[in-house]
Amino acid sequence: MVEIIILTPFLAGIIAFFISKTAGRRLLVMVGALHLTASILIWVKRPAPPLPDYFAITPEGLLSLISISLLFFLISIYSTGYLRAEESHSASGAPHAETIKHESVFIGSMMLFLSTMTMVTLSDHMMVMWIAIEATTLASAPLIYSHRTATSLEATWKYVIICSVGIAVALLGSIFIALAMDVGKVTAPVSFSAITSVAKELDPMWLKTGFVFILVGYGTKMGLAPMHTWLPDAHSEAPSPASALLSGVLLNCAYLGIFKTDKIMHAAGLGEFSGAILMVFGLISILAAATFIMKQTEYKRLLAYSSIENMGIIAFGTGIGGMGAYGAMLCLIHHSLIKSSLFLTSGNMLIGYGSGLIKKTGNLVTLMPKSFVAFFAGFVGISGFPPFGIFIGEFFIIMAAFNSGHFVAAGIFIFSLCIIFAGFSNQVMKISFGPSESDTIHLKESASMVWPQYVLLITSMILCFWMPDSLYQTIISAVAAMGGVR
């Protein structure tokens, strides 16, 4: 099962490079459906993976896997609508933003990207995880370069260089942790689960160094400030379905690397050390997002900065531990659901208005009513209001911060969230209700271009009120190492 779920999208991705457009689109949805079925089966049955030194099914991995699957399936449906709309759009000769130039490359890379991300969630060996995370960078680079423009080339270049160097730093960190085993005279596989079980015997100096390097390395990929500079460029230049994948699940994959290393630190009794660093990076990210969100002129960049903010929130919550880590996990899941829906809607807006600038938009509520519902609900959710799940996640994090006596940090946290809400809502109001330059919209809001967003938002809403017991238990066992929920 485990090998099938990694290999199927990989092979399908390679095939997609050589087949026609319509066949490629069908294959994309089929692979999405197949992947979702397989992950549900893995979730229910929890089979033992082959090569147990390298792969394992962990609660945190399962959570990421199931969200990747669900998101990819919905995004694949959206993509077919998006590609069709873009096609008819450029055929009509309307003024438009850039279009995807080589569709077979786009679809093939989407599936390779899915395969590599799946490998990240299932890998247990430190180096295998590194290989998988670096592979996600390589598989997603063609996606960002889809428009083949000068700016998209710049975004892709920054993405590949900054992330490759960042991830190389993480490799160094992984080697340092392996050194910590050698110095501590421990012989065990270099896998997260094995190291966690012998964490007490490792050399603390090398372990701490390794953690810092891994945090900086994977933090670059996760979008933590001040290593986030590639993120707004890449997310705004990629076509919207790809942006939704990048923001919704790729960032989670990088977080998984940090989370698993943090587990080792907790097991070694160095949880205070790693927690403090995570909290600092988290707060810097939230503050950086707050400063940049205020003066944004493009809506996709706005969403990208909101992703940086949410990654900061997640890092902050993980750093606090206990109930905060539980909140961080909730934020992780709901951020995936809500932010990907927002990015998909931004695709509708991009085709509809023909521009990514906020000042070219306006009056979304009457021009594209269906997209407006998804956009506005997404905004409410991402700002941390009920009935969406981020509300509960942030609530738990703030509670945990106060309970553990981090009053100043909690103060900065709440203050920045307020600023972000103010800046974000200002822009959203302009887009939704402000005057628009012209009343012509180049988009027919077909079902496949609005329903995926609705499904994502409704899922978040349902999970806010009622969580299946197996999901709850999985989250609890994922954060058990960080002090658990009392």
Partner: protein, 213 residues
């Protein structure tokens, strides 16, 4: 055996200085290729029980790090680069001086680090760190995109050398995966360099500053 390792490593150490001082891309490529060869043969001298499988793997590593990667970059330059200057942001003399300081710093650091007792060569860690940081330095202090890619490769070489300090034993499959990733990464960067040449008629990263707040 140990002395021969130190001889090779000291050459690699000096080649970092050469890389920092070289103003032209072909010189930089030669250094990267040489370091690629050195880092892939050092494990043969250090490993106490060399099996034939291990030797095959090291030879394979050498052909990728020492031949395939530098050669592909070299062919790329012949294809696209008109000007072969590395366009320094930090001058060559300052870079060289920084390189010297770096060697001193990494030697001092090596004394303070607690290394596993299996590490036999005194020069291994300082050389690895120097190559690594030199790569990072070139990545940041040169504007030419090809020089940046070479800096990245140098950095990867340094990391690989750090990796040889611990007993890798049966990790060859994993090492192979890492190598494949690096190779694929360099290939993707090469494709992007070609695109850059087509779009801007140059590979100066000065052209890549459209996107900002």
């Amino acid at each position: 055996m140990i002395y021969s390792v130190d001889t090779i490593l000291s050459l690699a150490l000096l080649s970092s200085l050469f890389a920092l001082g070289s103003s032209r891309l072909p010189g930089l490529i030669k250094v990267v290729g040489f370091q690629g060869v050195v880092v892939s043969i050092v494990p043969i001298f250090i490993d106490h029980n060399v099996t034939s499988g291990a030797v095959t793997f090291y030879m394979f590593t050498m052909s990728i790090r020492g031949v395939v990667i530098p050669l592909s970059i070299y062919l790329l330059i012949r294809k696209i680069a008109i000007r072969r200057e590395v366009e320094p942001i930090i001058g060559y003399h300052a870079s060289l001086f920084a390189g010297l300081l770096l060697i001193v710093a990494s030697s001092i650091m090596n004394h303070r680090l607690v290394l596993p007792s299996t590490t036999s060569s005194v020069l291994l860690m300082p050389t690895a760190l120097t190559i690594l940081v030199t790569g990072m330095f070139i990545l940041m202090a040169r504007r030419n995109a090809i020089a940046m890619v070479l800096g990245y490769i140098m950095m990867e070489n340094g990391i690989y050398l750090v990796g040889t300090t611990f007993s890798m034993g049966t990790h060859h499959i994993v090492e192979f995966g890492i190598l494949l990733d690096v190779l694929a990464g360099v290939m993707i960067m090469a494709i992007m360099l070609e695109n850059m040449k087509q779009k801007f008629d140059d590979v100066d990263t000065l052209y890549l500053s459209e996107l900002k707040e």
